[in-house]
């Protein structure tokens, strides 16, 4: 794993997620894709299990930096990313529709878990958290597999879609 490139990618995604990504928001609820969720799925699918655990928690920490409360996303992303990495050892998630489904499911589960952890912390929560998680996950699932390609190129990870960019 190229950790310096990973750090740059995550910081870039966090900065974009905090602001610019709202430019592609849809509906009056400002639903936008979650870049960090997409990267969580990417590293869980294309990294080894050990690296996937570290990247999941690191991405969760980055998500917390741009969220109202610290902690919920670190835990939920860490847990979901680890589960996804182990699942990937059993069932190879290589096809784009499967990747989209994985992002969608992981988004909903991570969103629900983060919401309940925020409640446990006694923090105020967003209105309609499940609706927001559902639509954000759906949007992320739609665009996510396409963002896997530039991410793989940047990280120097060989995928079957992007075979010529080997590490």
């Amino acid at each position: 794993m190229r950790w310096l490139r990973f750090a740059v990618l995550i910081l870039l995604a966090a900065v974009l997620q905090a602001g610019a990504v709202k430019a592609v928001a849809v509906t009056r609820f400002n639903i936008c894709p979650d870049l960090l969720l997409i990267l969580l799925a990417f590293f869980a699918v294309y990294g080894n299990t050990f690296d996937a655990i570290i990247t999941s928690f690191a991405i969760g920490f980055a998500a917390d930096l741009i969220s109202p409360v610290m902690g919920p996303q670190t835990i939920s992303f860490g847990l979901l990313g680890t589960l996804l990495a182990y699942l990937n050892r059993l069932i190879a998630i290589k096809k784009m529709p499967h990747q989209a489904a994985v992002i969608f499911t992981a988004g909903i589960l991570a969103g629900a878990l983060a919401y309940w952890l925020s409640v446990l912390r006694g923090q105020p929560h967003t209105s309609n958290p499940y609706t927001a998680a559902l639509w954000t996950s759906a949007y992320s699932g739609l665009v996510g597999p396409f963002l896997f390609l530039p991410s793989a190129w940047w990280m120097g990870i060989k995928t079957h879609h992007f075979g010529k960019y080997g590490s």
Binding site: A18, G19, F57, V69, M70, T74
Partner: protein
Amino acid sequence: MARKRIRVSRGWLFTWLTLAGFIFLFAPQGLTGKFQTSFARIFRWPLSIGRSISLSASAPQSLTDVVSRREYNQLQNYLANVTEELNQERRKREKLADLRDRFGWDGFDFRLADVITATVDGRGELIIDRGKDDALAVGQFVLGDNSVIGTVWSVDGKTARVKLFTDPKSQLAVNIAGLKTVMQGFGGNKAKLKMISVKHKIKIGEVVCAAKKPDFLDAPIIVGKVTACKRGDENPLLWDITVEPACNVEELSSVAVIILKPQK
């Protein structure tokens, strides 16, 4: 020379990182908030640019012969402030003919600050690019589009956190229809007034103004407007009034902080 590698099992790694997550979750917010503030401070330029991009992308195309919604809101809020000022002056003159007081901002100054990040849904909070170095202090009122949107909650050298009045932990003394009461944040860009008896007539659209606070606010400034008014579920003798901000906080790119001028 061979590099010595520390071997950690996946199970232990997961356990330690989960534990770290829970420490973050339950650590005092003042402590963990420093990570977020530092991130906002370090990446203030890309964050500001990103926010400008998203704001410009979401701004509707305005016609040449109509004013924009934002300008309209600014003028409406200005009008509400002046009207409230006028009403208050009239009441004063009626009651205290011999005690003249003058409305104004003589002893106050403003600091314009750019919004770095804004969280409006759920917890209402802004991070702005002014801090202690610009004479900001906890408790100072923050204006957006000529209306009070919240108060400074924490300050460091170059940034400050603003707690919006819609934040569930926020309480603000306000005036509504000549009554003084306390407004409680409710989250979701709303606040509630629950201590007003139903014998008082409150209309939808009624203006809510921040009450004067010595050393912090010396004039009535609009906070928001009543968007719903019904009898309380717990106590039907009290109104359950919903107030929404007088400006679209999510679209604010800059705010003004009211600062007391030092005495000469």
